[in-house]
Subunit: 433 residues, 2 copies
C-alpha cells in the first residue's frame, strides 16, 4: 500500500454507515464556524480583490460566492471562498500537522456539491473525508515539510480539497488516485507569505486546484498515478518525510475530531490564557494582581505590555485580560481597537498584569494566578489540546458565530448545518448581505 492507494481507497470506499456521529458533529461545528468567519471576512481587502477578479472573469453560475449574489464556476467559487474564509485568520486549526483544514476543504466540497447537485449529507461527508485526508497527508509530509517553508494549509490542503471534490463526483479509487496525481504537480503555498494577502490566497488556490484536478480527471485526464510518493514525486521534491504511520487507523479513527476552533480574535498565543480566565470568576474592581505563566516561545510575540492600537491589543496578554474582566467580548472582531487601548479602566487593570516565562508550560497552555483585594489567591490552568466536551464545544462555536453574525443569522446558519441542508441552501446563506 502506498499513500496514494490508501487515501484513494479511503476516499472512494468509506461508507456513509461507517462514519461515526462524533466526527459528523465536529464537521458540523467546523462548517458553522467556517460560514461565520467566511461571511465576517467578506469585506477584507484580499477578499474583495480576489472576488472582483473572479467576477470579472465570469463564467457559468454553478456555485455560491461569499459576498456577492453572482454565482461562478466551482473552481472560481472555491478560489474566492477559500481566500475569503481565511482572510481573518479566525478559522479552525489542526495542531497535529499544523494546518487550517476547513478553509481549503469546505470551499472545494461546497462548490463541487453545488455544481454536481448532491444532497446535504453527501456534502458534509465529502467535506469530512477531505478534511481527514488533508490532515493525514500533512502528517505524512511531516514537520520537516512545514519547517523548510511550506504552508501545510495549502499544500496538504490541496490534496484534501481534491478528495472532497472527488467524493462529491462519486469517483472510484482509481479515479481518486488520478486526481491525487494531478494535484501532486500543482499543490503549492509558502509560509513566507504570512503577514500578507498571500496567506489567505494560499488557501484559495489550494481549494481551486483541488476542484480543477477532480474536474479534469472526471473529463478523462490521465496523469501520473503515483505522483505523491514516486521518486521525483511531490514528497521527494517538497521535503516530505513520508511517514506511513500518518495513515494509522484511517477510516476507523478520525483525526479531524481533534480540530481546534478559535474563540478569540487575537494571536493564538493568548487563547489558553483567555480560556483560563474564563474559569476564574472575579470582579474587575477586585483584582489586585494577575500573573500569567506562559511558554517562553510566546515572549516577544504577544506580551506587549501597553499597546495603544487595535493591532497591538491582539498581541498583549495584559490588554486581553483587562478586556475580558471588564466585560468586552474577545471573540468580536471590532473589539480590538485604538479606543479600547485608550480607556482608563483598561489601562488601570492591565498595569496590574505581569507575564512570566515558564518552560514547563506547554506552548498550547497557560497558568494564571490572580490576587484579589482581600489578599486571597485564585489559580487556574488551561491547555488548548485538552479534549473538550462536544456540547461545550458546540455552545462555544455557536456563541462565536452569534458574535460574528448576530444571533439571528448565526441561528439560521446552524439550523441549515444541523439539518444537513442542500448545498444550494448553504451557498445562499453565504451570499446574503
Amino acid at each position: 500500500m502506498t499513500i496514494t492507494t490508501e487515501i484513494s481507497e479511503f476516499t472512494a470506499g468509506i461508507t456513509s454507515a461507517a462514519i461515526p456521529s462524533p466526527a459528523r458533529r465536529v464537521l458540523q461545528l467546523s462548517l458553522l464556524d467556517w460560514m461565520a468567519v467566511g461571511i465576517a471576512g467578506r469585506d477584507e481587502p484580499v477578499a474583495g480583490i480576489v472576488r472582483d477578479v473572479a467576477l470579472a472573469e465570469g463564467g457559468v453560475g454553478a456555485a455560491s460566492v461569499i459576498g456577492t449574489q453572482t454565482r461562478l464556476p466551482a473552481r472560481a467559487a472555491a478560489l474566492v471562498n477559500g481566500t475569503t474564509s481565511h482572510a481573518l485568520d479566525y478559522d479552525d486549526t489542526h495542531f497535529a500537522h499544523i494546518g487550517h483544514p476547513s478553509v481549503v476543504v469546505i470551499p472545494a466540497a461546497l462548490a463541487m456539491a453545488q455544481q454536481v447537485g448532491v444532497n446535504g449529507r453527501a456534502l458534509q461527508e465529502a467535506a469530512l473525508i477531505g478534511a481527514e485526508v488533508s490532515i493525514r497527508i500533512g502528517l505524512w509530509l511531516g514537520r520537516g515539510h512545514y519547517q523548510v517553508g511550506y504552508h501545510q494549509t495549502a499544500t496538504a490542503g490541496a490534496f484534501g480539497a481534491a478528495m472532497a471534490a472527488a467524493r462529491v463526483l462519486g469517483m472510484d479509487a482509481a479515479q481518486c488516485a488520478q486526481v491525487l496525481g494531478v494535484v501532486a504537480t500543482r499543490a503549492s503555498g509558502l509560509k513566507s507569505q504570512f503577514g500578507t494577502m498571500g496567506k489567505p490566497y494560499n488557501a484559495g488556490i489550494a481549494a481551486a486546484n483541488g476542484v480543477e484536478a477532480a474536474i479534469l480527471v472526471n473529463a478523462g485526464f490521465e496523469g501520473r498515478v503515483d505522483g505523491i510518493e514516486s521518486a521525483l514525486g511531490f514528497g521527494a521534491t517538497h521535503h516530505g518525510e513520508g511517514d506511513m504511520r500518518a495513515l494509522d487507523g484511517i477510516g476507523a479513527a478520525w483525526v479531524f475530531e481533534s480540530v481546534s476552533h478559535k474563540f478569540h480574535a487575537c494571536c493564538h498565543g493568548l487563547h489558553a490564557t483567555l480560556e483560563t480566565a474564563a474559569g476564574i470568576d472575579v470582579a474587575a474592581d477586585d483584582i489586585a494582581m494577575i500573573e500569567v505563566q506562559t511558554n517562553p516561545r510566546w515572549i516577544g510575540v504577544c506580551d506587549q505590555a501597553a499597546p495603544m492600537n487595535g493591532l497591538g491589543a491582539k498581541f498583549s496578554y495584559a490588554t486581553v485580560l483587562a478586556m475580558h474582566y471588564l466585560g468586552h467580548r474577545t471573540g468580536a472582531l471590532g473589539c480590538y481597537s485604538d479606543a479600547i487601548c485608550a480607556r482608563a479602566d483598561v489601562q488601570a487593570l492591565r498595569a496590574r498584569v505581569s507575564v512570566v516565562a515558564n518552560a514547563d508550560v506547554a506552548e498550547t497552555a497557560a497558568r494564571l494566578r490572580i490576587v484579589v483585594s482581600d489578599g486571597s489567591e485564585h489559580r487556574g490552568a488551561y491547555d488548548l489540546e485538552a479534549p473538550m466536551d462536544i456540547a461545550a464545544r458546540q455552545a462555544k462555536v455557536q456563541a462565536k458565530a452569534a458574535v460574528l453574525l448576530g444571533a439571528d443569522q448565526a441561528a439560521a446558519c446552524w439550523t441549515l448545518v444541523e439539518g444537513e441542508a442542500a448545498p444550494n441552501e448553504i451557498g445562499a446563506a453565504l451570499t446574503r448581505s
Copy 2:
C-alpha cells in the same frame, strides 16, 4: 540587488529602442513555431480535455483559444493554449536551463495582450522579455532544481509568463516585484509527470498562474515582494541554487537568442543525426553502409534497430535515416507510422545502419560515416548547440510550419508575425479550422 529587483527592473525598464533586432527576429521565429505546433496539437487528447473543461466554465470572451472559435478569459486561454502547444512536445527548447520557454510565455503574453488591447509590437516585446526572464530564473534556480524533480518549463516558466503579462499591463518595477512574489507561492510542476498528460498541463498551469498573478496585483493584491529569494522563499524551498551569475548582462545580452527549435517530430536524441544527414547528399540506392556515432547516453534511448510501429520509429536512428534518404519528411507528425516501418525499402536501408557509442561526441551532437556503392566515403558531423545563421534558421522554421499547417496557412501566419499584427489577429489565426 536581488533576483527580484533585477528581474523587476529589467521587465519594467527595458525600452523598445534597447531591444536588438536579432532578439526580435528569434522571437518571431519562436512565435511562428509556437503557432504551428499549437494549431497542430489541437486534436491531442489532453488539449481536448483541458479545452472542454475551460469552455464548460465559460466567462468573458477576452482571448483566443486554440481549437475553438469561443473566446475565454485571459487566464483560461493561457491554460488551454499552454497545454495545447506543448501537447506534441515539438516546441522550442532552451538548453542552458533545460526548459521550453515559448509554450508558457507566449500563451500568457498573447492572452493578456488580447485582454488589454496592446499592439502587436508590444505583444512581441512582452513575449521576448518573458522568455528571457524564464531562462534567467531557470539559470538562477540551477541544475539542482531540475535534477531533484522540478519541471523548469513550468516553475521558471511561471515567472516568465508573469513578467510577460506584467509588461503588457505596463507595470512599474514595484508592481513587477509584487507579481513575482505572488507567483513564488504558486509556481509548480514536476518532472514525474513526463510521459503523461501532466507534462503539457504543467505548461498550461504555469501560463495561467502568471496571468492570474499579474491581474491580481493590477487589482491591488499585495503579497511578499521578496518571495523568490527570502529565507523561506521559492528558491530555498525548491532546491534553488541562487546563482546570481544567471543575471549577467541582462538587458544587454539576450540568452533567449540561443533557443533551439525542433525540426524533426521524433526523439531529441535523433535530431543531430538528421541534421548531419541533411548535409550529406547521397542517393538512397547508392548507400552501402551508414555508421552513426552518438553519445553513450542515447544508447538504449533511441537506438532501436528495427521497430515495427510509429512510436518505435521515433526512437530509431536506423529508421529515421532510412526515412530521410528515401525522401520522407521527418518534420511531419504523420510520417512516423506502422506503415513506414513495414515498407521494404525502409527495412532494406535501415538494415545497413549501425550505431556506435562514442563518449567524445557531445550529447547534442552526432557524427556520420556513409559508404556508397563505389566504395567512397562521406563523413559529416553536427552539433545542435552550434550557432545557426538566422536566415537558415528562418527557412527551417518556415519549412516546419509548412509541413505542419500546409504552405498557405504557414505563410499567412508568418505574414502576421513578421508584420507585428495585432494580438487579436494572431489569436484569430489560432482558431481557424
